[in-house]
């Protein structure tokens, strides 16, 4: 059994965040990142047979910019990248991901969920690059976003740049709002509108939070999220 390196970066506490990581076979990396203020970059280089999972949350507020750059450099390298960002009043939050499939036979999956409220602005700018001859690549990318207020603003730019043919790549992006039917249903069962909306928002972000296996870390993320919304 390989031991998983579990690294937790709580940028909001230590002020440091981001960093460079090399991932090799037999030592899978799990990175939980609570993004700190300002801007920072996280780079992962995954070698042959290496596996990495990243779960990040951008909840710090203010003017923030985060970059996640992942190079898949050896056959069998796998990446799971899950993230969420919430931009409320006064926030400008930019999340950029760049996943580069440089060699054949690698897998990547990205899910990034965004919420903008008040006059908040959120940007997802994600690139999947598949190099020439990087055959048998599997790359998936999802950007799901919700606008909660009339002055909120979401931009999403999921991009595929593909130079090999025997690949399975897809991406999807949505910008929408919370389903009113759901709120009505919950209110019919006695929840206040606010409670229903909160629950719904948690539900929306649950897909990302649920990827955190470590209980205390998940609680930390959830607490930070609840404080934010």
């Amino acid at each position: 059994m390989a031991t998983t390196n579990e690294i937790k970066l709580f940028g909001n506490e230590c002020g440091c965040c981001g960093g460079d990581f090399e991932v090799v076979a037999g030592e899978p990396l799990t990175l939980y990142q609570l993004c700190g203020a300002g801007s920072h970059a996280t780079t992962l280089r995954i070698g042959e047979g290496g596996k990495a999972k990243v779960v990040f949350a951008a909840l710090e507020g203010g003017d923030t910019s985060y970059t996640f750059r992942v190079e898949l450099n050896g056959a069998g390298a796998e990446l799971e990248l899950y993230g969420l960002f919430v931009a409320t009043e006064g926030d400008r939050c930019r999340v950029k991901t760049e996943v580069r499939h440089n060699v054949p036979d690698c897998v990547s999956n990205q899910v990034v969920k965004g919420v903008a409220d008040g006059d908040g602005y959120g940007l997802f700018d994600g690139l999947v690059y598949v190099a020439p001859d990087a055959q048998h690549t599997e790359a998936y990318q999802q950007s799901r976003n919700v606008l909660l207020a009339p002055t909120a603003h979401i931009q999403t730019q999921p991009q595929l740049e593909i130079y090999a043919d025997d690949v399975r790549c897809s991406h999807g992006a949505t910008v929408g709002q919370m389903n009113e039917e759901e709120v009505y249903y919950m209110r019919q069962r006695g929840l206040t509108k606010e409670a229903a909306q909160r629950l719904q928002l948690e539900g929306f972000l649950q897909e990302v939070l649920g990827k955190i296996d470590d209980e205390p870390t998940r609680e930390k993320f959830t607490a930070k999220l609840l404080a934010k919304i």
Partner: protein
């Protein structure tokens, strides 16, 4: 318990309910029948306070209060339960968490202490058993990936959890096989008491084989045009609505 007088309601400016008079007393079971598009579901939605509909005229009194003045959740907390025809899926929100909140609100309104975590769990298991709902569904998101039958059972399960005074079940029987129908009916019958009342909105008299109504009403073009006892349902099943609505063809 419920007094509806001359209720008119519109959606997108189109009048759907056009003067409903309807009264329910504690301990009674009413069935509302009628052809498609007669306004049955709209009536249920208006009682629940669905904001898609605008009440333009009439009054609704519930437990001595003006129901129309209450918000959706206030109505629910005061014991008005709507069993949805198409229960919505709420991704990411677990049944357990959802019910915990809903039950806490209901108990608060009833002046009861909140249940402990253990008490809640026990309570949920107990009620799930009533409708033979797989307890595993509790850890899933609300209605997400539930089969049609599971969704309907889930509605009755929630009804059992919230112990309503007035339950309005909107086509809860539609799309159910006989087994599921029996289970749903058993659930409804078990919850029947002298203190509460049930309004069944249905298309078929089939459900009424399992749940005996005290009164049967026919809703047509937004009005209750005929009321009778349970024999009316049988007559409708046999003869259809034509003999009733012939007089109402003209507007």
């Amino acid at each position: 318990m419920l007094k509806v007088k001359n209720l008119h309601a519109t959606v997108d400016g189109k009048e759907i309910l056009r003067g409903i008079d309807f009264e329910v007393k504690a301990g009674e079971v009413h069935a509302i029948m009628g052809p498609n598009g007669s306004g049955k579901s709209t009536f249920a939605s208006v009682l629940a306070g669905n904001e898609k509909f605008t009440v333009t005229e009439g009054t609704v009194e519930y437990g001595g209060e003006d129901l129309l003045e209450l918000s959706i959740e206030e109505r629910a907390r005061k014991g008005l339960f709507l069993g949805f025809q198409y229960p919505v899926e709420i991704p990411g929100v677990s049944m357990a968490n959802f019910m915990k909140l809903a039950v806490a609100e209901r108990r608060k309104a009833q002046g009861l202490e909140p249940l402990t975590a253990g008490g809640m769990l026990k309570y949920m298991r107990e009620k799930a058993a009533v409708v033979e709902l797989d307890a595993k569904l509790m850890s899933r998101a609300v209605n997400e990936g539930f089969s049609g039958g599971e969704k309907k059972k889930n509605e009755i399960f929630q009804m059992a959890m919230l112990e309503p005074k007035l339950a309005v079940l909107d086509e809860t029987d539609s799309g159910l096989d006989i087994d599921a129908l029996r289970i749903v009916a058993t659930g409804v019958n078990r919850l029947r008491s002298e203190q509460n009342a049930t309004v069944l909105i249905t298309h078929y008299q089939r459900l009424l084989d399992y749940i005996q109504p005290d009164f049967v009403h026919v809703l047509y073009k937004g009005r209750i045009i005929y009321s009778g006892d349970k024999s009316l349902a049988l007559k409708l099943e046999k003869e259809g609505y034509d003999w009733l609505i012939a007089d109402y063809k003209e507007d």
